[in-house]
């Protein structure tokens, strides 16, 4: 049974000129990278371009990567800088709700084998509602939410990526959750409407 090499090992080999190691590294982080940039530009092609730029910058700076650091933290730090550079130069319109709802329905289709039609309907709606709410919160909150809840990073790792104190990240997460809850409540996903939604789903 082959032991999976760590990200740091792959980075070291890629720095030494191993194309296979770099390919493996890109394969591991392609989806998180595109997902992260997409949350800010709301355009899939542009998100992919920014992610490509991020990977190229990572490759160019592999010499400066400290293997003692977690690779994902360093990677997201570089990717975030690429995204911020782009957003500073280009002011982008926010994503339309329709796009995000469509995206939510696409995701709901992923688990269709394991869920009943009723569950699927409710899950798809909720996923799209959360996706839409995510696009409406403040960008600094959005990035901590994406890194925490979509990429599964810890608060200290997020603090390292963003260059913020851990306490600030905790505060951002708290406020972000509050904003998400408020937006969802306005859209009818609050606790009071739970039974009504359930009935509607059934």
């Amino acid at each position: 049974m082959a032991v999976q090499r760590s990200d740091a090992e792959l980075a070291r080999d890629a720095r030494s000129g191993s194309e296979a190691a770099y390919r493996e590294l890109v394969a591991r982080f392609a989806a998180p990278a595109v997902n992260f940039t997409y949350r800010f530009v709301h355009d899939r092609a542009l998100a992919e371009d920014l992610a490509q730029e991020g990977f190229l910058r990572v490759y160019q700076r592999l010499n400066s990567y400290d293997p003692e650091r977690k690779f994902s933290s360093w990677f997201f730090q570089v990717l975030r800088n690429v995204t911020i550079d782009y957003l500073r130069v280009n002011r982008l319109p926010t994503a339309s709700l329709d796009e995000l709802q469509e995206e939510g329905h696409q995701a709901a289709a992923v688990d269709r084998e394991s869920a009943s039609p009723e569950e699927l309907a409710g899950r798809g709606e909720l996923a799209s509602a959360i996706g839409a709410a995510l696009s409406r919160i403040r960008p600094e909150y959005r990035e901590v939410v994406v890194l925490r809840y979509q990429e599964g990073l810890t608060q200290p790792e997020i603090a390292e990526i963003l260059g913020l104190p851990a306490g600030t990240v905790k505060t951002y997460l708290h406020r972000a959750r509050k904003e998400l809850a408020d937006i969802l409540a306005v859209q009818g996903w609050g606790p009071a409407s739970a039974e009504a939604t359930a009935r509607k789903t059934v």
Binding site: E48, L126, I130
Partner: protein, 166 residues
Amino acid sequence: MERKQLDAWLKAEQGGEEDAADAALAHLFTAVPKVPPRSVFVEQAVINAWRWRARRRRLLAVGWTAAAALVIAGAVIAIVASPLIGRSTVKAIAYLSGHTVPWLIAYASVALHGWLTLGHVGAVIAAALVTPARVAAVVGVELLGILAFYALHRIASAERLGDAQV
């Protein structure tokens, strides 16, 4: 299931239960779709990186070649031109020496002569001052001279006054 998770999250959020809210929202987010990259994404990223790597290597090679060429050209110029430069330099030094050294020697001898004369004068004055008798003689002569000038001044003044009174 997700509806229950949503309610659990919102309840934890309202109750101020940070950890529970964090865990519940993390679970909810597993249903939120990620935007997957296209199938060619990885290949494109690798191609981009290796193109950049090749371009960088080319630039480095060109840089090293240019530096080596400059060093070689400098060495060749130094080797080929150094005899010519050496000869012309020796000639110039000989020419300047032939025209300037005699003049420098002549001026130096005149300056030396003047310096020796000043030295003699200084020695005479010093010899006069070193003995009390000679000092007294010099002072006496100077006092006599001063008195003579004073007397002449008085006579000249009296004559001017007399003329005016007339």
